[in-house]
């Protein structure tokens, strides 16, 4: 058995991210809901496709696109 796989892991990650946003002022004041969603989306994307296929530039573009909105 692996302790956390697939969706469970993504959900656990999302919970941690939400908690960080609610507890840390720097995230709360600067980042909006869309940015937080994109962070989770980027995590899921990387986890699902694997680091061999997902480059840092792809993640940067994904997050930067939303930050500019």
């Amino acid at each position: 058995m692996t302790f956390a796989i697939g969706n469970e892991l993504v959900e656990a990650y999302e919970r941690e991210v939400q908690e960080l946003v609610s507890t840390e002022r720097k995230y709360r004041t600067v980042l909006g809901g869309s940015e937080v969603d994109t962070v989770v989306r980027a995590f899921r994307f990387t986890f699902e496709h694997g680091v061999d296929k997902v480059t840092a530039q792809m993640l940067y573009d994904m997050i930067d696109d939303v930050s500019g909105e």
């Binding site: 980042l31 980027a42 997902v54 940067y60």
Partner: protein
């Protein structure tokens, strides 16, 4: 999962052999080199496809002389019977028993590994860390670096991929930071060059300019109303100025013509000088000739004097013969020759005097000619200056006439307005003052307009820069959000890893504590698996003692309890395989170890143990005994 049979073919020291296994304790017993560890290795290899001892190659597990070896396992799981074969050349085959016949579920190379893992519910890391104990493992575990143990922990938790994801996020954060620095540098450069705005000054100048222009317009209207008085004043001033310039030119002309009645006289004088110069053509050449003649005559006279002197000395010496040819010489003849020489000298002297007189005249003439040339050049310069002055004079006169004509038209009663020698009419004092005032005002308006132009230009540059700064600020806000998003992403992964560790290690600690209690070991100790990444650490009466600091036997028992605890937390496989767990234990500890094995079996685990110790065999009388001997 219950292991029922080990099937070996060309594997390790065995050619072809099957070993049946049962529920509960299975003791593989035999002397050294009888193949006990080979059986442990075969089970591990069949389940994972990897050698149980790291760095051992698969080919090393093949029986000597064989091209490939095979380890097979019959096992039962959730009411189903399976048969698993794995060859050292990489082939896998998993069969399921249906109606007394085997049907192939998985067949192929190592690509089938993932499908196989789903059926046996165990990963390599889990089996390696929790289910199997290989010989010497404990010392390797203790010797591992904390980072290495952390990697094992992550692999056990299935979160090793999380660390890879975190690496990607860290790279992304690095990109964001680099971009942020670029934007900040741009922002800084714009701030440095930004100067204070000119808005206030522009407004002030515009107001001042507006007021001045209104006033200027008002004066212009007034001027128009005043008729031609102001124009007459302005024209009169111009006329006076022109008159002054004409007078100055007249004086200059007189000065140039000094010594001549008029320009014609000047030009005639130049003509005469040029004629005289022309007549004197060849004078210089003639003079040169005379100089040469004078030189020649002077030289002749000097030679004659010399010869006469020698002859006189010859007579005075009275030698009677020639010192060169030794011929006899007559005094009279020599006296005669001297006489001839003197006569010749007199003639030369006369010629010389005549030539010197001619030379003197020629020298005077040449000097006069040079003076004439200088004079000619001087006069030519005067002519040139005169022409320039006359040209300017004519120009001024034309200008003067124009102004005078306009004045005449405006003020016909004024006498001789076109006469350059006439006095300029007096302009009305008010008009002059007004003209001066307007001139000053116009000059100020021009200056202000120029300043306004410069300020507007600078303001435009400033506005452009401010707009650029706004754009860069937007960019900076955006990149800050991107960078913080990446920081959040990284922090999120770290927190997830931490939480997952907590979720797994907390129950593992509790389970280990229970096992220690069962074994009456370190009963009041507090177990910690987190601080040193899986390395069990005990706090006994406030003093921390980790696994490394325990005795050999304590280490072994604690380590096996730790495996049992891990197995419970990670998902129980239902069996344990321990290779010689009682090695180096004294009698008392052997008993403790056997009790531990017995406890595992009592908890419905199949335990496969190897040993060559008869004490162990004798203690485990109820176990299924498998005696080994190499083929």
């Amino acid at each position: 999962m219950l292991l029922e049979r080990i099937i070996l073919k060309s594997f390790g020291c065995f050619d072809r052999k099957d070993f049946d296994l049962t529920e509960g304790i299975n003791l593989i017993f035999g002397p050294n080199f009888s193949g006990k560890s080979t059986l442990v290795s075969a089970i591990f290899f069949a389940l994972t496809g990897k050698p149980i001892i790291p760095r051992v190659t698969l080919s090393a597990m093949t029986r000597t002389g064989a091209s490939s070896g095979t380890a097979g396992l019959n096992f039962r799981d959730q009411g189903q019977r399976y048969q698993l074969f794995r060859s050292t050349s990489g082939d896998i085959q998993l069969r399921l028993q249906k109606n007394d016949a085997w049907s192939v579920l998985i067949s192929g190379k190592r690509s089938a590994e993932a499908d196989l893992q789903k059926i046996i519910h165990s990963s390599y890391h889990q089996l390696s860390a929790a289910t199997f104990l290989r010989e010497g493992e404990i010392f390797e575990f203790l010797a591992r670096q904390p980072s290495n143990r952390r990697d094992i922990l992550y692999a056990l938790l299935g979160i090793d991929r999380l660390t890879e994801v975190r690496e990607r996020f860290i790279e992304g954060r690095r990109l964001a930071k680099r971009e942020e620095k670029r934007v900040q540098d741009h922002q800084r450069s714009l701030r440095v060059t930004t100067v204070k705005g000119h808005g206030e000054e522009i407004k002030r100048i515009e107001d001042e300019l507006k007021a001045l222009e209104v006033e200027y317009e008002s004066q212009s209207s007034k001027t128009a109303e005043d008729g031609d008085a102001l124009l007459i004043a302005e024209l009169s001033q111009t006329r006076a100025r022109l008159q002054q310039q004409i007078n100055a030119l007249g004086q200059e002309r007189t000065s140039i013509l000094s010594g001549f009645t008029n320009p014609v006289h000047l030009r005639e004088s130049i003509g005469k000088i040029e004629a005289a110069i022309s007549e004197a053509q060849g004078l210089e050449t003639e003079r040169e000739k005379v100089i040469q003649q004078v030189g020649s005559l002077t030289s002749q006279i000097r030679t004659l004097d010399g010869a006469s002197e020698i002859l006189r000395e010859f007579i005075n010496s009275n030698q009677g013969h020639c010192p060169t040819c030794h011929q006899p010489i007559h005094q009279e003849t020599i006296a005669q020759i001297i006489g001839e020489k003197l006569s010749e000298r007199e003639r030369c002297q006369r010629d010389l005097d005549a030539k010197e007189a001619i030379l003197k005249k020629h020298t005077d003439d040449v000097n006069a000619l040079r003076e004439l040339n200088q004079r000619r050049q001087l006069l030519l310069n005067k002519v040139e200056m005169l022409e320039r002055v006359e040209s300017r004079f004519a120009e001024l006169q034309r200008e003067f006439k124009t102004v005078a004509d306009r004045l005449n038209a405006l003020h016909p009663s004024a006498p001789s307005q076109t006469d350059t020698t006439a006095e300029a009419p007096e302009a009305p004092p008010d008009a002059v003052q007004m003209a001066e005032s307007r001139r000053r005002m116009k000059s100020k308006i021009d200056t202000l307009r120029q300043r306004l132009g410069t300020l507007n230009q600078e303001e435009a540059v400033l506005t452009h820069k401010l707009k650029e700064l706004q754009v860069v600020q937007t960019e900076a806000d955006k990149i800050l959000r991107t960078r913080l998003s990446f920081e959040l992403a990284c922090a999120g992964v770290e927190k997830t890893i931490e939480t997952l560790q907590q979720q797994m290690l907390q129950p593992a600690e509790e389970e280990l504590q229970r096992w220690l209690k069962r074994m009456n070991l370190f009963e009041f100790a507090k177990v910690d698996l987190k601080s040193q990444h899986l390395l069990p650490s005990l706090k006994i009466n406030g003093v921390e003692r980790n696994l490394m600091l325990l005795s050999g036997s304590e280490k072994m028992i604690l380590y096996l309890c730790f495996k049992a605890a891990l197995s419970t937390v990670l998902g129980d496989t239902g069996f344990f395989v321990f290779d010689d767990p009682t090695l180096h234990l004294d009698g008392e500890r052997k008993v403790l170890m056997i009790a531990f094995i017995q406890q595992l079996a009592d908890n419905n685990h199949q335990v496969i143990v190897t040993s060559n110790d008869t004490d162990v065999r004798d203690a485990l009388t109820s176990s299924h005994l498998i005696e080994t001997a190499p083929d």
